[in-house]
């Protein structure tokens, strides 16, 4: 499927990344490399900084300190053309963020035309191809509001793909969906992974992480606690914090008991 070892030019490289919101230090020194074609799932409790890390990778959040490289270009360089770099980076949001005032097709053609300067016919062709890929060709003329959450998220993925990105970032793409709609979105993401797309996925879907990811990164308290294969991180975690998180995630009923334990209170408060 894809090589596990990053090549000479990692697609995404994060060095010594710090991010604070006021006095609140959310990221406390992150180093991470993601190779071409690699699929990396980032897991961790809420407030661990995983979404902030992902948003730093396309500079939706500006890092307080440290460097971010994508495709060899340093995004954190103040003189870089950030709009040009972002064209290489597709982003999928938890809340879909489709443009509600235009149709599904126009959601895909508008960015192509305005940002890439593609002609009408070409943009329409690329839009149709990508809607086909996510299985929503028949919704081309619908408005986003008439679609289910799962369909909206697949359109959002198609919209990002239509720009021809080299990297795709997913920020909890299934967290806002009803449980029965999660599968369709994950199927599209699985297809992308098999096609060799470089993907960084912040998620709580452990089954997806185990089956699709090349690597799983566990974050807590603004640092990377564990980074390894899914078998290792999910199957045989080395750190107590990882074990604790996974046990709560896989068996929520246990959490009630665990939270009562005095030594866990600080952890839960993070």
């Amino acid at each position: 499927m894809s090589e596990n070892t990053p090549g000479a030019h990692p697609e995404i490289q994060v060095r010594g990344l710090h991010k604070s919101f006021g006095d609140n230090e959310v990221l406390r020194g992150i180093d991470l490399e993601i190779g071409q074609g690699e699929v990396v799932c980032v897991i961790g409790p809420s407030g661990s900084g995983k979404s902030t890390l992902l948003r730093c990778v396309n500079l939706l959040e500006e890092p307080t300190k440290g460097q971010v490289f994508v495709g060899g270009t340093e995004l954190t360089d103040p003189d870089v053309d950030i709009d040009a770099v972002r064209r290489r980076i597709g982003m999928v949001f938890q809340q879909f963020n489709l443009f509600p005032h235009v149709t599904v097709t126009e959601n895909l053609t508008l960015p192509q035309r305005r940002v890439l300067g593609r002609g009408k016919a070409e943009a329409a062709k690329v839009a149709a191809e990508n809607l086909e890929r996510v299985g929503l060709a028949e919704k081309a003329n619908a408005y986003p509001a008439s679609l289910s959450g799962g369909q909206q998220q697949r359109v959002a993925i198609a919209r990002a793909l239509a720009m021809g990105p080299a990297v795709m970032l997913f920020d909890e793409p299934t967290s806002a969906l009803d449980p029965e709609l999660v599968g369709d979105v994950l199927a599209v993401m699985r297809m992308l992974a098999h096609e060799g797309m470089t993907m960084m996925v912040v998620t709580h879907e452990m089954t997806f992480a185990r089956e699709v990811a090349d690597r799983v990164v566990f974050m807590d308290g603004g640092v990377i606690v564990e980074d390894g294969t899914p078998e290792q991180v999910i199957g045989d975690p080395r750190h107590e914090r990882t074990r604790h998180f996974l046990s709560r995630l896989l068996d929520p009923a246990m959490a009630e008991v665990e939270e009562g334990r005095p030594d866990q209170v600080g952890e839960a408060g993070r």
């Binding site: 939706l60 709009d83 963020n97 005032h101």
Partner: protein, 278 residues
């Protein structure tokens, strides 16, 4: 309530029940209303009123000029003022949201001044001060240009605040999605944010149109030619030549002819927007 109350008994207050109070209150309101209508109908001198305001022959001689000239000019003044106000208001709204401090301050000062002044003073200012300050320069379009400018200056202050609120009402994720697709901030604003903002503020903008429609009557302080008269001026002029107020009534009805349907449209749009939220 002499028997000792059991614990489950609902507490009952002495005197009127809630239902009886409600009936009494509503009944009193109807009585007051009917009394007021009767008092008004009896005390007003309808005969004199009719003589002064409802002379059919005077009303008749106003047509078709009141429509083809006066109403047309009112609409023209309003629409041109609205257009100027919209463009200027959008610029000021964007300045107000700018990251550049002086732009924000300037926009804030503009809004405070022009919202705080009566429109009448601004009309006088445009009519008197501008020609004095810049002798020789004509405002493009003569009276029409002056009215568009004066109405536009007033409207821009109100519209800027409305537009700013509309832009801020567009969810933050829209800008993030656009930026992540490679839109520059300006392009994202134009292609994604502003079109959505205008959908949100269509009802208040239409209200502003109604206000401008009425404010266009202030043009009479600029001095207009016979051909440039709008509803109020036309009605007043005719009222003084005929020594009768019927033209004022007819002019008033012409305003309502436009403002009532517009008000209806606004309420429809608001209801639809409410539905879309659900």
């Amino acid at each position: 309530m002499t028997a000792p109350a059991k614990a489950e008994d609902p507490p009952r207050k002495k005197g009127l029940t809630r239902r009886q109070k409600r009936r009494l209150s509503r009944g009193a309101q109807y009585v007051v209303f009917v009394a007021a209508v009767i008092a008004f109908a009896v005390s007003a001198d309808w005969g004199r009123l009719k003589n002064q305001f409802a002379q059919a022959d005077i009303a008749e001689q106003m047509f078709p000029d009141v429509i083809t000239l006066a109403l047309k000019n009112t609409v023209l003044f309003t629409v041109s003022g609205f257009a100027v106000g919209l463009v200027l208001g959008l610029v000021i709204a964007l300045m107000r949201l700018s990251s550049v401090g002086p732009y924000r301050w300037l926009a804030g000062i503009y809004i405070e001044i022009f919202r705080g002044l009566p429109a009448l003073l601004i009309f006088i200012f445009i009519g008197v001060a501008v020609p004095l300050a810049f002798p020789g320069t004509e405002i493009i379009g003569g009276t029409y240009g002056k009215v568009a400018l004066a109405l536009g200056l007033v409207a821009a202050a109100y519209m800027a605040e409305t537009i700013r609120a509309g832009i801020q009402a567009v969810p933050k994720g829209q800008m993030e999605a656009a930026r992540s697709l490679g839109f520059s901030p300006a392009r994202a604003m134009i292609s994604i944010i502003i079109p959505q903002a205008f959908r949100i503020i269509l009802p208040p903008l239409t209200n502003e149109l109604v206000l401008l429609f009425k404010d266009s009557s202030l043009v009479l302080f600029l001095g207009v030619t016979l051909e440039e008269r709008e509803l109020s001026k036309y009605g007043r002029d005719l009222a003084s030549t005929t020594a009768n107020s019927t033209p004022i009534l007819v002019a008033g009805l012409c305003y309502l002819l436009v403002t009532i349907p517009l008000g209806f449209v606004v309420r429809r749009m608001e209801a639809k927007a409410q539905e879309a939220v659900k």
